[in-house]
């Protein structure tokens, strides 16, 4: 399970001004809770994604702080009210310090 987490994001490419859009995100990650023991009885160290951030044109619009109780391959959906065209930046922060980033464009017309 040491593959690089791959983020997947689904949102409409186009929206009308003032339209409420739903953004669905998924990232592959084992979310090791730090509660589990391996076959030798040793505790498997915690390694989870502890923070998910969504920013639009550089401004943070939504944040989620995840605890070990979040399932593996964490899913997160939320809403955004379309105003202007721009670009979303989604960031997942891992316990080991790495960031996984996805970018999606939104056209408002």
């Amino acid at each position: 399970m040491a593959t690089t987490p791959t983020p997947r994001v689904r949102l409409p490419a186009q929206a009308k001004p003032g339209e409420l859009i739903e953004i669905k995100t998924l990232i592959s990650h084992e979310m090791e809770s730090g509660q589990r023991k391996d076959a030798g009885g040793k505790v498997v160290p915690r390694k989870i994604i502890n923070k998910f951030t969504a920013a639009f044109n550089g401004k943070v619009v939504f944040e989620a702080d995840w605890n070990p109780a979040i399932s593996a391959n964490p899913y997160q959906s939320f809403f955004y009210k379309a105003v202007d065209s721009g670009e979303f930046t989604f960031t997942w922060k891992d316990d080991d310090g790495s960031d996984y980033v996805a970018k999606n464009k939104l056209t408002v017309a």
């Binding site: 589990r36 639009f56 702080d65 109780a69 979040i70 959906s77 939320f78 009210k81």
Partner: protein
């Protein structure tokens, strides 16, 4: 004399059995968070402020077959304008090894204070949801989830 000693042994045996039974009941819960742990977390965040009911729609299944993946949707009623919006939402569970599940920060740009994710539940327990409004008001909702297979993984 003989009768007395038998009586005593039976009493002792019963007492030991009762203690053993109680220990067996408590043992699996030892490492789990409980309502007090959740209350302590809430106290850490908001002190002893009052919570109102209503406004929150906490959507969890009544029965979760697989505790490893339990969908949870929080929907807080709010106009989500600059002057009146939902600032933060916290979700806790009182039967997991750790009480915290997720904390959201919303902004007026969201347009709707609603978010879904999937959580792990170790056993049948209560899920508690708090919402903090921009005007400082606090709301709380609670739901219980029956878990058929726990999601603790060991």
């Amino acid at each position: 004399m003989v009768l007395k000693s038998v009586e005593k042994t039976r009493r002792e045996t019963l007492a030991y059995a009762a203690i053993a039974g109680l220990a067996a009941l408590l043992a699996p819960r030892m490492s789990m968070a409980d309502e007090q742990a959740v209350a302590a977390e809430i106290n850490k965040l908001y002190g002893d402020k009052k919570f109102e009911s209503g406004k929150i729609k906490l959507d969890v299944p009544e029965i979760a077959e697989n505790g490893l993946v339990v969908p949870v949707t929080v929907d807080v009623e709010s106009p989500m304008t600059e002057s009146d919006y939902v600032k933060a939402v916290h979700v806790f569970a009182d039967g997991n090894p750790l009480p915290g599940i997720v904390s959201y920060k919303f902004t007026p740009a969201c347009g709707k204070a609603s978010a879904s994710t999937r959580m792990r539940l170790a056993q049948t327990q209560n899920v508690v949801c708090l919402a903090e409004m921009s005007n400082g008001k606090l709301h709380m909702a609670k739901a219980s989830v029956k878990v058929t297979i726990g999601g603790c993984g060991g």
